[in-house]
Amino acid sequence: MSEDIWSERDTTPDKIEAALRELLRERHAANRALAPARVLNLVVIVDREWKGEIANRLDRVGRYHASRTILCTVEERRETLDAVAVMSYEEAGPGGVAVIHEKIEIEVGSSQLARLDTVVDPVLVPELPSMLWSPHGHREAVQALLGMTDVILLDSDDEDDAGDALCRCGQLQRDAYVVDLAWLRTVPWRERLAAAFDPPERLSKLAELTGVTVRHHPSSAASAVLLVGWLSSRLGWSLAPMRSMNGDGLAGNATAQRGKVEIELRPLEQEAPGLAGVTVSWDPGCWLSLDRDLGGLRARECGRGGREESWIVLGASRGEGGILGEGVRQALLRDHTYAPSLEAAQQMLSEVAA
């Protein structure tokens, strides 16, 4: 990987933008086989002391790098802008085209956050969608950038209170498309539940579900409640608010067409954030359970007559880097099942105290 670098202390957004344009012109003149990626602007707002950790997370997203990443590092008493722009690329093979990615780091002061739009806007690639990720809060800056943001990336599992986190998602949805990493952690589970009930002889059981239990990392209650919200919204359940089980998770119920569905969210210690398992039950004694295992999910099933079976549903763990990369990729997609799932999840948590 080769890099072209520009930096300047006490600079301005216009100078940064001009420098980027010049770097690109020079590089393209030197090698016409290099072309700038033009997919997505990713604006990230981070506390300066944690920027290394966030940079590491961004490095691990694999192939899903945004084409232009603008990292705004916030320093308490700073009043000027310092900036570093890096264009990275690999040399093209014979007859091929290689792609340039751009990363701009701008050091800003907290007093500048309320008008961060005036810093970021000139540096965005016009015509490309812009995604905003502010993992350390900085709501003032988020508010300032909302007008130029198409997609907001966030992680409801990062918040202490899942109810507050989902409420925030609901509010932000009015201004931009929300990509919630907590929602993306449920993807394999949603896919596998959909597949499990896809055979015609099993499909009818969806209307007969009597129970759903979701096991989750203690910090991933938002993922768990979003998974139940998804089931509920897809299956047309009416949800009642959940209640705390005195530190042992949450319990509640839903009314489906054919009766009540008992719901439990149970925290479970495990290394990785996200979900640990899900069990759905129907007919007396019939259930299907999916749990994390090596090389995929361990499926266990008990049918009528008590016949139990177990098998592995193959799939590699994406890891947190993979989930963040998936979050970036989702900026270009639209999942219309998220909003109703979020609404149902908010409803479930509406009476749960923090």
């Binding site: 085209v97 792609v99 499990a196 009930f197 002889e201 969806l206 193959l314 590699a316």
Partner: protein, 540 residues
């Protein structure tokens, strides 16, 4: 970019709404020729990548069938995946994929192979508690297709047409829809049996028809999935997106605006030790009859009513049938063949085709073919389609160049520059993947001088995700029963119908000298004669 809309009925399962990966019915995949090159290099790595991404059915079983006795199939598969997979395998996923694989050894003509296969298939069904879908993938030489098909039927393994396949194909006649071998025990109306075969589908029109007839005597057309892996390439599928998702192009996509179309599939390599196959096939059979005419049909077809299998394939067949095949005696006016002679490629001296190992010294097999075709329909009447392909050419490139007609009047002076040129839309298939549009633009300066510039879209710069291997997409589609990217029997016969007179003419001509072109060049000068006056082949 995925351009083919999922066709499966999603309303029935409310949970699939919004998911990127649609469920696939539990399936057992049987690979005949499981120890062969294609299986090792493409199929097994593709299966691993599907497993890695969680795209395989929740219950998936794999059986290898091959002649080698006592083969440790799991170990061979592991080695192949580790060597050829596009990503480093995750040990746990790999172990999960290969932990339960079975291997049935024996010659494809032995009944015992099919008895054992039936036993293993039933064992899997029993373990699941219901009938798994069955996909028989014939990764074998084509002469085994009828034999294996017939033996599968004789063993009662040809299955029936599933509800999904029936819906996709528009078939309404009765079919059992259950596996006969387990009929009465595990009645699952959705279980399907499918047969996947690889090109070549026949050696000429007569053998293609015979192959179709033999396979269709035991399988229903909706069960047969003929793979042309070109159709699994994202850039090929993107042709449909380009044409039918953009108001920009379709208005000019006809004889009123398009001057001519040039389809190139050039390879810089020689036959790479495949003399046995290539000398029997030649360039026309190897690339024109299948890949290149598929590209042509996608480029020229009318918009389908939907992107389901049969509406798309119906439109492709209509275009192919609108290409009037030449009479044998007219072939030399529309087709040129040639062989590469010695030359220089990549700075190295390389031998001629006749000097390649395994090639008969008197071979008249063409390593280069160029054609001029006309589509006789309302949209394309009078627009020539030029096709060329060859081995040992100057560069590896597959592209379609659509050249628009010149502007009717040029008010701009063009002295001092190359001037106003015809617009071109270049669909780049490989090695670059994307679209390039050439337009005239003013050269900066005091004078009004024009030269062509290019507006380019490259997959690498515009999408974050990398394209999956064509086989990953196609295997998954076959397991799903989505035949959109597979070739139908009438399509195969239409394709052969176009090239059959050319093959006949070339076979009959045993005396006239075969044009030569130097290895590493742009091809024979004789091909220029196919072009109308004032036109020239695009530079490779």
């Amino acid at each position: 970019m995925s351009t083919v809309v999922e066709h499966l009925p999603t309303a029935e399962n409310p949970l699939v709404e919004g998911l990127e990966r649609l469920p696939v019915h539990p399936t057992v995949l049987v690979i005949f020729g499981a120890t062969g090159d294609l299986a090792r290099r493409k199929l097994l790595p593709a299966l691993y990548n599907l497993a890695h991404e969680g795209a395989l059915p929740e219950r998936f079983e794999l059986i290898g069938v091959a002649r080698k006795p006592d083969e440790d199939f799991a170990e061979m598969a592991r080695e192949s995946i580790e060597r050829f997979s596009r990503r480093q395998p995750d040990p746990a996923v790999l172990k999960g994929l290969l932990g339960e694989v079975r291997y049935v050894a024996g010659s494809f003509d032995e009944d015992s192979v099919y008895v054992e296969l039936a036993r293993v298939l039933q064992e899997f069904d029993k373990r699941a508690g219901y009938a798994l879908n069955r996909v028989f993938y014939l990764s074998t030489a084509p002469n085994f297709f009828p034999l294996i098909g017939g033996k599968l039927a004789a063993a009662g393994l040809q299955g029936g047409v599933s509800a999904i396949d029936r819906a996709a194909s528009g078939i309404h006649r009765g079919a059992s829809g259950v596996h006969p071998g387990v009929s009465g025990v595990y009645q699952v109306p959705s279980a399907a049996t499918r047969l996947v075969i690889e090109k070549p589908f026949g050696y000429d029109l007569a053998t293609a028809r015979a192959l179709n007839a033999e396979l269709l005597s035991v399988f229903d057309e909706s069960q047969i999935f003929r793979i042309d892996h070109y159709l699994g390439k994202e850039t090929v599928q993107n042709m449909m997106a380009l044409r039918f998702a953009n108001a920009l192009f379709e208005p000019v996509w006809n004889r009123n605006f398009i001057d001519h179309v040039e389809i190139t599939a050039a390879e810089d390599l020689g036959i790479e030790g495949r003399a046995g196959y290539y000398d029997n096939a030649g360039a026309l059979r190897d690339l024109v009859q299948n890949h290149m005419l598929q590209l042509l049909s996608l480029l020229a077809m009318e918009p389908p009513a939907s992107f389901e299998a049969n509406p798309v394939r119906n439109e492709k067949v209509k275009v192919l049938e609108a290409i009037v095949p030449p009479k044998v005696e007219q072939v030399d006016r529309i087709a040129v063949r040639a062989q590469y002679g010695p030359g220089v490629a990549g700075g190295k001296n390389v031998p001629s085709y006749l000097e390649e190992e395994g090639v008969p010294p008197d071979s008249r097999t063409e390593t280069y073919a160029a054609l001029r075709l006309q589509i006789s329909n309302w949209r394309w009447s009078g627009v020539p389609f030029y096709l060329r392909t060859g081995k040992r050419l100057a560069r590896k490139v597959t592209e379609i160049a659509v050249t628009l007609k010149p502007v009717p009047h040029i008010a701009l002076q063009s002295s001092g520059s190359v001037g106003v040129q015809q617009n071109q839309i270049i669909l780049m298939v490989q090695p670059d993947e994307g679209v390039s549009v050439s337009i005239g633009a003013k050269i900066p300066g005091a004078r009004m001088r024009i030269r062509p510039v290019h507006m380019e879209f490259h997959y690498g710069t515009s999408f974050m995700s990398e394209s999956p291997e064509a086989y990953e997409r196609l295997i998954l589609d076959a397991m799903r029963g989505d035949a959109t990217l597979f070739t139908r029997n009438d399509e195969i016969e239409a394709l052969w119908g176009i090239v059959d007179p050319i093959l006949t003419a070339w076979r009959q001509d045993t005396s006239s000298p075969l044009p030569q072109y130097p290895a590493g060049s742009s091809g024979p000068s004789e091909a220029d004669a196919l072009l109308d006056e004032g036109r020239q082949w695009r530079r490779l």
